[in-house]
Amino acid sequence: MEFLQHISASFSPYILAVGTCGLFLGILLGALPGLSSTFSCAVMLPISFSMDPVPGLIFLGTVYMGSTYGGSFSAILIKTPGTPQSITTTFDGFPMAKRGEGGLALSIACMASVIGGLTGIFVFLWLAPPLAEFALMFGPAEYFWLALFGLTIIASLSEGNLMKGLISGFFGLALSQIGVSVVSGDMRFTYENSALIGGIPIIPATIGLLCLPVAIDLIADADHHLSTPLTERSNNFLRAARAIWDRKQNALRSSIIGTLVGIIPAAGGAIASLVAYAEASRTAKKSDRFGDGDPGGIIASESANNATVGSGLIPTFVLGIPGTPPDAVILGAMMVHGVQIGPKLFTEHNDIVLTFLSGMTIATVLMLPVGLFLGRFIYSAVTKMPKSYLVPMVALMLVIGSFAIQNNYHDIVIMLVLGIIAWVISRFGFPAPPIVLGLLLGPIAEQGFAQALMIGRAKDSVLEIFFARPISIALIGCILAAIVLPPLLRRSSFNRLRMKENVST
């Protein structure tokens, strides 16, 4: 009831204007490759200081939410994830855009983002304190199993050849070994090159691996970049709504996965969307279409990564531990505004929490018209753009996106080298997306494994650390199910089909 009162209070023109501006700026910044949600929030931080605490926090929250969704624009239209959270959106979004359903893909991404965003906020509202305690139960072993679970997605990204997909995944893991070892402090595979000491940065590598091959192929002929069938006009909203309704279980499950992963400190939207995508591809009825333009892939990715926005704030508000990197920026803003963080926040400043959450709720709903409008505008611009302008524009964005995240020239070189490698090996049938997964999840798995091993050795209970904790057992169960179930299901459906054929003949 109290929340409803704050909802009505949040309908003030000022709060609505602040939320809309935050969304608009967030979407535009997130749509630019390389400008992450953390960057977007950090850049907008000074503006929030000029506002009162609640509007300031709503502004930053909506920038975060908008940039998370905005990452899907470039992911869908030019196969360049605007933010790391939208890496999985490229897997199905770009193939949809290629066959002329880019507008539909953007509408689906927008609706899924709203569903995920609202789920995260509502979970925050009702379950913040107990879920914050759950987040603290995640130790190194759980991170290790979580990363392994994320790697099982490789099976659905292998484009018909699992072994080549696995080799690509191992190649990504090999790339993740470059730099200073988090475990031993060794300089691994750097060969006294200072540019490699920090390792292969994920954003420039992702841009190179996924987008440069697209740019290289774009220049090869005079055909249009994306198909634009005449039938696709204004009915994208209804088609997207129907696509989501048909996959409502996927949307709900992915939102819950995003919410749960979001509250784990430092896990973030990229891992949330990977786990949700893996789950969605495994449970889909037509799983063979995942990675080839299935709307379910976009729904899983976008609802999961937006759910982390609200849920990531749970450990931030309750424990003072940021759930995701942009939450660290919001945490800093709260400190500057003099808002005390911790359990007392919910008793002494409950009005701030409730007004903030109600403002975020309204802003999330507002994302629907704002996102759909911007999506339609940008899709139309990209499809009508002549190739002689689009190709150099994409090349320019590749360079900017690689450079902007760390202001480092070497990142552009890394983008270029990995992009050329990705294009060459794709000619040999080795897919690039598993390389990104290996690169992203390799360090998490290695660090989790080494830390858990050290703790286990110190306690003389290595097996217990890895295999006897409840969350670990649940994650191991998920991994086993991910490996064993798909072939079993395939075999059973094949047998059923054969029986049907026998009956008919």
Binding site: I167, S184, A220, Y389, I400, A404, L416, I425, G442
Partner: protein
């Protein structure tokens, strides 16, 4: 029939070459891992073993039932233009620290734009329009990123 055999041979050669390359990478990782501390050696050695094992497995599968493996994606469109684009990108990235973002960006934009095949005939007016568009876009990005978002883009050191 001969053509089919040639296609299968070509496909097999490509797959084996790819597998051998990754197998060599795996062997190299296994060898290089010996120089690391014991804690830091486990993961690279594991990855090296994985790469080597999968590569050998792929070669075995290739020889046993290659017709079941999907063929590598066929290249459509001009390979020359692709190579030209890669060369232009390399030159652009090398020149970036010397010429700076604006000059290198404008030049690269105009040249890449000219390299794109067009449905209509290329004219000097088209080239001029693309150059102007490139200059405006590059400067627009430069202004937004440096002035509003405070991203310090590379500056020229050559002049």
């Amino acid at each position: 029939m001969f053509q089919l055999k040639m296609n299968i041979a070509g496909k097999r050669a490509k797959n084996i070459l790819g597998s051998l390359t990754f197998g060599m990478l795996g062997t190299f990782m296994l060898y290089a891992a010996q120089d690391f501390e014991s804690a830091g050696r486990v993961t690279p050695a594991f990855i090296g073993c994985g790469l080597l094992f999968l590569s050998v497995l792929l070669i075995i599968v290739e020889f046993s039932k290659s017709e079941l493996l999907p063929p590598p994606t066929a290249i459509t469109g001009s390979l020359v233009r692709r190579s030209l684009f890669i060369a232009l990108m390399v030159i652009w990235v090398v020149a970036l620290p010397y010429l700076g973002f604006v000059v290198a960006g404008c030049l690269a934009f105009a040249i890449i734009s000219a390299a794109v095949p067009k449905n209509s005939n290329k004219t000097s007016t088209n080239f001029a329009l693309n150059t102007v568009a490139g200059v405006l876009t590059t400067i627009g990005f430069w202004v937004v990123l440096t002035a509003f978002l405070k991203v310090p883009l590379p500056e020229a050191t050559f002049f």
